[in-house]
Subunit: 334 residues, 2 copies
């Protein structure tokens, strides 16, 4: 697959360089580590820090979500690979304002190990209190009884949104952790894959699907899903995704939710809005009120084809946090 890149070895470095140059009023690269990006704004003393991170290739996740009302810093890994402890640790030190830092990241072995190690080092070296919330929104990745084994995918946007807003509003360390955990507990995602992406280094497709085939529950690094089959019309695909979500996390009539219809990379806005149309129909039929909706590329897998639907069940506290404004290079909410 063709890509507009230079040397495949330096794609992440060059992306970071371009990113920081493009948004100098929003973000800056730490002198201490070339994979640590933090907000360019001065945050107030006593603000709980929010740190995100993970592999590259999911842009706007994660680096695009550093800014007011979202994260204070991000550690950037290689493509589809966890950042090592160093950039996580340096970003932690840079964003701590005396009240600790909350890590939010997806449930992957490498991230667990590296963020875990950074958390220990932050405490040992600098006495910084670190809390961690592991995102596990992908319904297809493990059965209900083993929710702790589930992977984190697009729903991490909601977790970051809620925790970032809470921290910005002046919530305590414990409360930011509690909010992030609640946002994760109340969020479910189901995805569908249509076509693979390719890594710059290899140029080879990340998985194979026949022309006219789709895969339900495909992971966002190409991890196997739960069902391959013939491509169905969008409405039927959405019915499946939403029903799987609601079966896993029943939502009462009268409840409020936030909805994210997320493109994986090469899926058009046209398709995403056609999907949203059906999500709205289904939820309205069930008496569920969509309090706020997001449609677009929020967490991609390079140029993968496909989409996911995330639903976050909202209590009053989460609804307020979802409505809170944000100002990041790749996401702004008034």
């Amino acid at each position: 697959m063709k890509k507009l890149i230079n040397n495949p070895t330096y794609v992440v470095e060059e992306m970071i360089e371009g990113y920081v140059k493009a948004h100098p009023h929003h973000v800056k690269l730490l002198a201490e580590n070339a994979r640590s990006i933090v907000t360019a704004k001065v945050t107030r003393d006593g603000k709980v820090g929010v740190l995100i991170g993970g592999g590259s290739g999911h842009e706007p996740a994660f680096m695009g979500y550093v800014g007011e009302g979202m994260a204070d810093g991000v550690a950037v890994g290689n493509i589809f690979a966890s950042p090592p402890p160093d950039p996580i640790l340096e970003a932690t030190k840079a964003i701590d304002k005396g009240e600790g830092v909350v890590y939010i990241y997806g449930n992957y072995a490498g991230d667990l190990m590296n963020f875990g190690m950074a958390a220990e080092l932050a405490d040992l070296e600098s006495g910084i209190k670190v809390g961690s919330v592991i995102v596990t929104d992908d319904v297809a990745s493990a059965p209900k009884e083993e929710k702790e084994k589930r992977r984190g995918i697009a729903g991490e946007f909601f977790v970051t949104k809620a925790a970032g807003a809470a921290a910005d509003k002046g919530f305590s360390f414990d409360d930011v952790v509690r909010i992030a955990q609640k946002a994760n507990d109340y969020t479910r995602t189901m995805g569908v894959g249509l076509s693979p992406c390719s890594l710059p280094q290899t140029g080879k497709p990340s998985f194979e699907l026949e022309e006219n085939e789709m895969e339900i529950g495909l992971g966002h690094h190409g991890e196997p899903g739960i069902e391959k089959g013939e491509l169905q019309p969008a409405d039927q695909v959405v019915d499946r995704l939403v029903n799987d979500i609601l079966e896993d996390m029943p939502i009462e009539s009268g409840a409020k939710v936030a909805v994210l219809v997320n493109g994986l990379g090469s899926t058009t806005r046209m398709e995403l809005y056609i999907m949203y149309r059906r999500v709205e129909q289904l939820l309205t039929e069930k008496g569920i009120e969509i309090h706020r909706s997001y449609v677009g590329d929020y967490s991609t897998s390079l140029e993968m084809g496909g989409a996911s639907v995330s639903i976050m069940n909202l209590d009053e506290e989460l609804a307020e946090l979802v409505d809170y404004p944000a100002d990041c290079p790749m996401y702004v909410q008034k």
Copy 2:
């Protein structure tokens, strides 16, 4: 090519339905015409209206740019086809606040005919004064001496941004027209195509390129470019695009510009930021200051692969308008 759609005949209707449902606080569909979308906000009496439109398939352009600080309404055509006069006329009537409406659209035969006809009818039927600014930013589409023959592509974002801000700030009809015209005069775009898109109705690729081939100057409906050749490294591609722009519109050292690195559909943010990195290097070398930058999908061609670089030369007036905030469903600026 696989798509998440239902019946190909109704993709535009279903997209519009999803779009309006997803953003009820921002936009509404006119009861008078199913292809006319206008702002849901009440605009003040005497505000000059800004109306955009064109074929579908370029999302976020054009429907995504209705909102405060941008357009008041949009007429939505079929995929890659101009909207007929009716939705343009109805949107014109809906957004006129007594001081006239300024049309902004790309230089294509169908748009010229249909927007022209709507402008006449608006005057005849309702006495609404209409001004038109035709976007002609695509350097590759005609030689310098025939700039009026050039097509409009991603640079239309800058024209809408400047005119929308001017109208919101209370500029007069004549001044909004003047600003839109100046923004177009001061904007140039050069694009590169890597891979085709396919129309939902046919499923067939819009053009053909060999694996490892690129096409400089490819139009955003697949119109032929000016040079096919082997895919080059991103830096070389950007050098070509930026040099062609600067040759066509020389920019003095010390000048300020706005830059847009736009993805055509399936090009990753990683690639776009790698391209931006090089744009910034080139302009900085020449002493040109990037006042504000935009990197992402601002005007697509369904899932086409490739990107474009737009540069708007800024005087003080345009710089202020570029900085003005905006709040649209697919684009927010604080």
